[in-house]
Symmetry: C2
């Protein structure tokens, strides 16, 4: 079996899990669901030596210490971006460094996937399509009319997947509900498979300047042990763009592999709550707490005891000098709080 | 004008304002409404030298240090009970120590009264009735159908007040609503006026053993500066009973003075919230906080910043190693929390 090359993206930090996730200890590097951090979970999912080669990590200087502290295995390469340039550049840097025929599996480092077997089966199906030079997205079977994700409409059936009929931007609730009823729409979870050479060919076709800058940043870059530093001058010329815009929505070769794997982007306190196992009242507690007359309450305390009476669908988070109390719906506004903005 | 002798009761601590109020820093000695503590407010209400003699404080060894630290004036006497024996004994100790013709005004130390002028006017009216050997209760004009207080039904009109027709135990909501509609019922706020000798005479009539034990505890007691220590052996024989049962519900001389004075016993997080001035959304904040989409939320933090999104009628209290989040209705259960019970 040809091995799959994991490419793990450790980019921005986000603010929606503030105050637990902060600039100095961002989301991927926190043990948010189980005992492992999300980054460690991501590495573990792609660590079966039968199926996977050693990973390529794409990260920035801000996260480098966290990456190196949590990267327990051998053989990984760490691409250190001088600044964040969005996903098209990050994937292209890895693609330009890897052998042309390597099949890359691009994985965000801050997602939780409950069913690792389903993930690996989908990875094999996606890799098979990628070997035919398809640009392959994981299409996650939706479980509710989520308005926070982009959607993928499937087209004609291919071996192990489907062509992509259309990528759809984040919908409003009405459209999301229609998508769910339609059955042909999947969530775009930001997980992709590409043959490295094929990805670079498509990028050269649709974003030639971006591809050229990446090629030069790699050609003139420098190794330092496991670290690879792209050359700063060409890197600075890279335009920030998502892989969705730069490649997936441009290419005629887009494909998708449908998968149901207990996926969550842990993008809010509500989705973190839902990713953790609850007690019989749906409450989730980490740290010292007592809950009375509570339903579906999340408590997450790094020290103080938290006593909660009479609430439902509320998160209470204690992190050092910050206490957050929010309804699950209100969790969308966490990023607008003074504490989250002025870190 | 004959002066009124304030008798200020600094008894039990209660658990309903946990974790701010704790055994080691009980409710009367905390600045819960304004800048002064409730005990300091109580002293200040009774500190006008034209109207009031120096106060008698009745307290226990556990609270003595707090009393002495916050007792800024001169001339006060502090009766130090070896153990708490409920209000009949506390009032009787003060009555037995004071001149027979002293008119006592018995005040709990942990209430808030917004309108001090109304309080003082009612005190004068109550004192006038007490000089005629009436056993006088303040009857607080109810503002809502509260189920947490006892009620007083007024009878025939007297000069400056009314005879008491009946004392009524805490009612259920239906009865409390009837009482409010009826108009003749007042809350029993635990504020009383008695001529000292008349109180002892009624106590001797209805609870002779209690009166005798108090007389001996005073006669054999010892002075230590401002402190008066009742003699331990007779004190130990005192039966714990409330003044309501021991005297007010027994005597044929009960009277009441109706008063509307912005009174609150600050008996729950809800009543503390309501005693503090709110912003335009009805929120009350002490300490560092940011509230988004909140209505009638109380935040009280001794340090950490508290960020709240999307809640109404909720209290968030941070006190050292304890965080409490409760609905206002749920506040009745605060005393049942592990943290409140195991102090």
């Amino acid at each position: 079996m040809t091995k799959i090359y994991p490419v793990i993206m450790c980019g921005g930090s986000g603010t929606r899990l503030w105050p637990r996730s902060r600039k100095v200890k961002p989301k991927p590097f926190l043990p948010l669901v189980g005992d492992q951090t999300l980054f460690e979970e991501t590495l573990a999912r792609c660590s079966d030596a039968e199926q996977f080669a050693a990973p390529t990590i794409v990260t920035g200087t801000a996260h480098l210490a966290h990456v190196e502290a949590q990267l327990h295995g051998d053989g990984a390469r760490i691409v250190v971006e001088p600044e964040a340039k969005n996903t098209a550049a990050a994937i292209a840097l890895a693609a330009a460094l890897l052998p042309e025929d390597a099949v890359m599996l691009v994985c965000p480092s801050d997602h939780h996937i409950a069913d690792v077997s389903a993930f690996r089966a989908a990875a094999q199906a996606a890799a098979a399509l990628a070997r035919e030079d398809r640009m392959v997205a994981f299409g996650i079977t939706p479980t509710h009319p989520e308005t926070g994700y982009g959607y993928i409409l499937r087209g004609e059936e291919l071996t192990g997947g489907f062509a992509v009929e259309r990528f759809v931007e984040k919908p409003d609730l009405e459209r999301a509900t229609e998508f769910l009823a339609h059955g042909g729409y999947s969530w775009n979870g930001g997980i992709f498979a590409f043959r490295a050479g094929a990805f670079m060919a498509e990028l050269e076709r649709y974003r030639p300047a971006l591809a050229d800058a990446v090629r030069r940043a790699v050609a003139e870059g420098s190794e330092d042990g496991a670290r690879f530093h792209p050359a700063p001058a060409p890197f600075a010329q890279i335009v920030s763009e998502s892989v969705d815009y730069a490649v997936m929505e441009e290419t005629g070769r887009a494909a998708m592999v449908p998968v149901s794997m207990g996926w969550s982007d842990i993008g809010s306190w509500q989705s973190l709550r839902d990713a953790r196992p609850g007690d019989e009242d749906g409450n989730r507690v980490r740290g010292s707490a007592e809950l009375v007359d509570c339903t579906r309450v999340l408590v997450d305390s790094d020290g103080p005891r938290v006593s909660v009476i009479g609430l439902e669908d509320v998160a209470v988070v204690v992190d050092g000098d910050e206490v957050l109390v929010t309804t699950m719906a209100g969790g969308q506004k966490v990023g607008t709080l003074d504490g989250a903005k002025n870190q």
